[in-house]
């Protein structure tokens, strides 16, 4: 049951083959037995989940159900959830219970989905391995000695291990796609402005975007139906109408042109990963697509530009965590300055403090032009690269990450090396375009994700392409042994 798609489960719920309460219990039980090995949840909201499940069963009985009604999902712990602890993976929010609901989670509530709990993540979404969580690292369900990726590592591991039907994630520099790739699930980072950021705890406001993480493109499409669309509470939310992501899933791919940027296949890419991606691309040729070489000449620059822009915005966004109105305050502050500096030093982990300081430096007097302004100009060059390439092709494909999931603790000593791993994902956030990670094979038993990047607001097209691929391959149907171990 835990492996089934949203469409199948929705049908079963409607047919009364299973109730939402039963389904919810099943997942809560799986979390209880399996998650101690993974640590993918920070909070499991059993009581609320069962309450919501009961309500969903009533809706189902009355025939007022959407395809998400009664479906148990999990939310990344940076979406504020009214009455449920929201930590953002940080000690500074270890006691924070928001009196308000994020737009994304509230839309899932309205659709009747059940919230199982809040998933683990790199603190404030800063990281690519989920080792930066105050609540402990998350393990990869395919190999408990490996990282699940980050920052949405908890969501990826939970979906991969069948602890939730689907989950939400957020992606600032690859935080949905890279963990999706490492854990063998499907993830979509929508166009910037497609999904409301209201109630999403900000890391880098001009890059952050929420999106779905699920077992298939079709499931992602179901999630996008609910979470996408304009929100008047977010000034950066786009008024472009939300697409219907389901109707075109089955459109054939004949005539599709796929661009392969040579910069995505150069030095640093693991050769077995490269082979896997090339095999996947051949599959698309079989489905009627034509392949073209394209170039994204400024790709290399996305790393420095990102590591200026994101920390700069973060340094300002994280100033509100000051121990005054919510969150951690140090014991017995001797004065105001002491309260600020100790509350923040105790509340934030090392990586977060480091990025705050990088951003503070980059914005400070005398450095602004050389760092922040320069990075914003490079950002335009990167955007133009994509715009130009997408004039010639419909979508761009490449790897999500240069390697498969790496060993826990293997890169913590050299964070800059870890930053370099984000090379294939960062540029997408800088440009603001949508991109997906789709399971495309395995290297030494670890999943590999294919990245599909498209034009602004082309989410429906990306989902269609990924869905067609998944109709002809079964990589997305593979489940780790750990998931099968428990009752099905």
């Amino acid at each position: 049951m835990f492996e089934q798609s949203i469409s199948t489960l929705a049908q079963k719920l409607r047919d009364k083959e299973v109730s939402s309460v039963e389904l919810t219990r099943l997942f809560l039980d799986r979390i209880k037995t399996i998650d101690p090995q993974l640590n993918s949840f920070i909070t499991v909201s059993d009581e609320l989940a069962l309450q919501q499940a009961k309500a969903a069963d009533t809706l189902l009985a009355n025939g007022n159900a959407t395809s998400l009604t009664g479906i148990p999902i999990a939310h990344k712990d940076l979406f504020c959830t009214q009455g449920t602890l929201t930590t953002c993976g940080s000690n500074i929010l270890n006691n924070f219970i928001p009196p308000y609901e994020s737009t994304v989670t509230s839309r899932f509530q309205q659709a009747g989905a059940v919230m199982l709990g809040k998933t683990n993540m790199d603190e404030f979404a800063m990281g690519s391995s989920n080792e930066n969580s105050f609540y402990g690292a998350v393990k990869n369900p395919w190999d408990l000695n490996k990282v699940p990726g980050g920052s949405s590592g908890g969501s990826a591991a939970a979906v991969s291990a069948g602890l939730a039907v689907a989950a939400t994630g957020t992606d600032t520099g690859g935080s949905i796609r890279q963990p999706a790739s490492f854990c063998g699930i499907t993830g979509l980072k929508p166009t910037y402005g497609r999904v409301s950021r209201f109630g999403m705890i900000a890391y880098a406001s001009s890059l952050d975007q929420g999106g779905p993480m699920a077992k298939s493109a079709e499931d992602c499409a179901h999630l996008m139906q609910a979470m996408g669309g304009f929100d008047d509470k977010d000034s950066t939310s786009s008024e472009t109408p939300n697409d219907d992501y389901l109707t075109n899933l089955n459109a054939p791919l004949t005539g599709l042109t796929i661009g392969l940027p040579k910069e995505y296949f150069g030095e640093g890419l693991d050769s077995k990963v490269a082979d896997t991606i090339n095999t996947a691309v051949k599959e698309f040729e079989k489905l009627g697509a034509t392949i073209k070489d394209v170039s994204l000449p400024n790709l290399q620059l996305s790393i420095p530009a990102y590591y200026v822009i994101a920390p700069s915005e973060a340094s300002s966004n994280l100033s509100r965590f000051d121990g005054v109105r919510f969150g951690h305050r140090c014991e017995n502050p001797k004065d105001l300055m002491d309260m600020y500096t100790r509350s923040r030093a105790e509340g934030f982990g090392r990586e977060v403090q480091k990025r705050i300081m990088v951003g503070t430096y980059a914005l400070s007097e005398g450095y602004y032009d050389a760092y922040y302004l320069k990075a914003q100009k490079i950002r335009r060059l990167i955007k133009e690269d994509f715009v130009n390439a997408l004039k010639e092709v419909d979508v761009i494909m490449g790897p999500v990450a240069p390697t498969t999931a790496f060993g826990l603790g293997s890169k913590t000593s050299d964070p800059v090396a870890m930053y370099l791993e984000d090379i294939y994902t960062l540029s997408v956030n800088l440009a603001g375009i949508p991109a997906m990670s789709v399971p495309a094979g395995f290297v030494d038993g670890m999943p590999v994700g294919l990245q599909i990047m498209g034009d602004y607001f082309a989410e429906a097209k990306l989902l269609n392409i990924a869905h067609q691929y998944q109709q002809h391959t079964d990589w997305h149907l593979q489940t780790p042994d750990l998931a099968k171990g428990a009752q099905a």
């Binding site: 308000y100 999403m200 705890i201 880098a204 406001s205 340094s315 509100r320 000051d322 109105r325 602004y368």
Partner: protein, 481 residues
């Protein structure tokens, strides 16, 4: 040494919108602490700002009123610093691209001269909350009701050269924003606050001296006094061969001195950058033109109209138009009596005297404009004379009724019957024969001085009710014999 003072002002004007600059919380003074706040004003995690349409319209109105370039693309920036009443750790303001660009105002001083004060810019920003230092177990209390209230910060060029000019400029800004209806102008409640940048330089020197900034002065009187005391302080230091330290100072009205604000000593690096949660505000020419076309009459335009339409002097027109309430009062009273000069004299004279005595504004006057006009009608039609009118106004002020009621009740109607006046004069002449003879013997110059005595006697005998305009010629004729 002969010092020249150089002053530039930053005026924070609270825009009178219903809701806050970036949230749907109510704006208002005096509410219970933290009851007018939302997650946006409290800087809660995940909160996002959405910009208030009305604040934009008000800023553009002001831009037109000071002859300024309107920023067709303006950008919100974050000014980053930590302070407990600044919940997000940054203030959302405007830096490189303000909504209002360069403009100017022609300021009329008390002596009637005018000077032009350049306005560098005016930008939109959010206000901070309030820190309450009363004792809360040795701690400071934070009230964020004011957080995210819309402000328009109006920054002048260092064009001001005296305390009087500074006050005249602030009064003019005050009158413009209240005319436009974009600020209630209530300085006591902090709706308008002024930062004074002040430096001295030897007369004739080109470059500026080191300046200090006096923060948050909130009355016209304090602005004037703060400037005088700061000039004195700086001059003393400079004359002793000392140097001015560039710093932020606070004016203490009780001690009438400025003192250094040590808590802000910590040189700040505000790390401005464009706010990524807000997008550039882009205006169309049509939007800007529409606002210009519907702008209400401004104080300077009103003053010009008062001169041409009512033939008032430049000074009278300026005084009467300086506040919207006064101008309306004047025009309403004038429409009753149809005598602008008479209305102007009484409004600026007796009425203003009473308002000053009670320290109230014209819109709180117990005598409304129409009732005031009706009183003036009785002066104009000779029912009462000026002296009596003052008593009637006083009685009206005390709430004793309309001018006519009071005149009737107290029997104050002026004597205008020629026969009655003649009889009264005859009585006076008969009772003062010696003075009459002296008068008749005197030369013309002396007679002019002596006639006052007889006028006084007549007025006394009539209990002030004799019409002086009639008494004078009749008396002159009868004295000649």
């Amino acid at each position: 040494m002969n010092w020249e003072v150089v002053i530039g002002l930053e005026i924070h004007t609270q825009l009178s919108t219903k809701s806050k600059l970036f949230s749907g919380a109510a704006v208002g003074f005096g509410a219970e602490p933290n009851t007018q706040t939302t997650l946006v004003d409290l800087g809660m995690p995940g909160a996002l700002p959405v910009f208030n349409k009305e604040a934009l319209r008000m800023a553009v109105m002001f831009g037109h009123a000071i002859n300024a370039e309107i920023g067709m693309t303006s950008v919100f920036a974050r000014k980053n610093y930590f302070y407990p009443d600044l919940p997000k750790g940054y203030q959302t303001s405007q830096m490189d691209h303000p909504i209002v660009g360069k403009g100017y105002l022609d300021v009329t001083l008390e002596d009637g001269t005018t000077s032009r004060v350049g306005i560098t810019r005016a930008h939109l920003e959010e206000d901070a909350g309030k820190s309450l230092h009363e004792d809360f177990h040795g701690m400071t209390g934070i009230d964020l009701n004011r957080s995210s209230t819309p402000l328009l910060e109006i920054v002048s060029e260092p064009d001001i050269r005296s305390a009087k000019e500074a006050v005249a400029y602030v009064k003019m800004i005050h009158s413009i924003v209240t005319y436009l209806g974009i600020c209630d102008g209530n300085m006591a409640e902090g709706s308008m606050r002024c930062d004074i940048n002040l430096s001295l330089r030897p007369k004739g020197q080109q470059e500026y001296g080191t300046r200090t900034e006096i923060k948050n002065v909130n009355s016209f009187r304090f602005i004037e006094k703060a400037i005088y005391t700061e000039i004195e302080r700086q001059a003393d230091i400079l004359e002793d061969g000392g140097r001015i330290i560039q710093e932020t100072r606070l004016y203490d009205p009780e001690k009438n001195e400025t003192r250094s604000m040590r808590s802000k000593e910590d040189a700040n690096d505000y790390r401005y950058f464009p706010c990524p949660d807000l997008l550039p505000i882009v205006l169309t020419q049509e939007y800007v033109d529409d606002i210009k076309a519907t702008l209400p009459e401004l104080p300077s335009q009103k003053a010009a109209r008062f001169q041409s339409e009512y033939s008032l002097s430049e000074y009278d027109a300026h005084v009467l138009s300086s506040s919207r309430a006064m101008a309306e009062y004047f025009e309403n009273a004038q429409s009753v009596v149809k005598d602008a000069k008479l209305t102007a004299n009484w409004a600026m004279g007796e009425l203003s005297k009473l308002l000053n005595q009670e320290q109230i504004d014209i819109d709180q006057s117990p005598v409304n404009a129409i009732a005031f006009g009706e009183l003036l009608v009785r002066i104009k039609d000779n029912t009462i004379n000026g002296k009596t009118a003052k008593d009637v106004l006083q009685a009206m002020w005390q709430g004793e009724g309309s001018a006519d009621d009071i005149i009737e009740a107290k029997g104050l109607k002026q004597v205008t019957d020629t026969g009655a006046i003649e009889a009264m004069i005859q009585g006076i002449l008969d009772a003062n024969t010696a003075q009459v003879e002296q008068f008749r013997a005197a030369d013309e110059d002396k007679q002019k001085k002596m006639i006052g005595f007889f006028v006084g006697q007549v007025m006394k005998a009539s209990q002030g009710k004799a019409n002086p305009g009639m008494v004078n010629p009749i008396l002159a004729k009868m004295l000649k014999g």
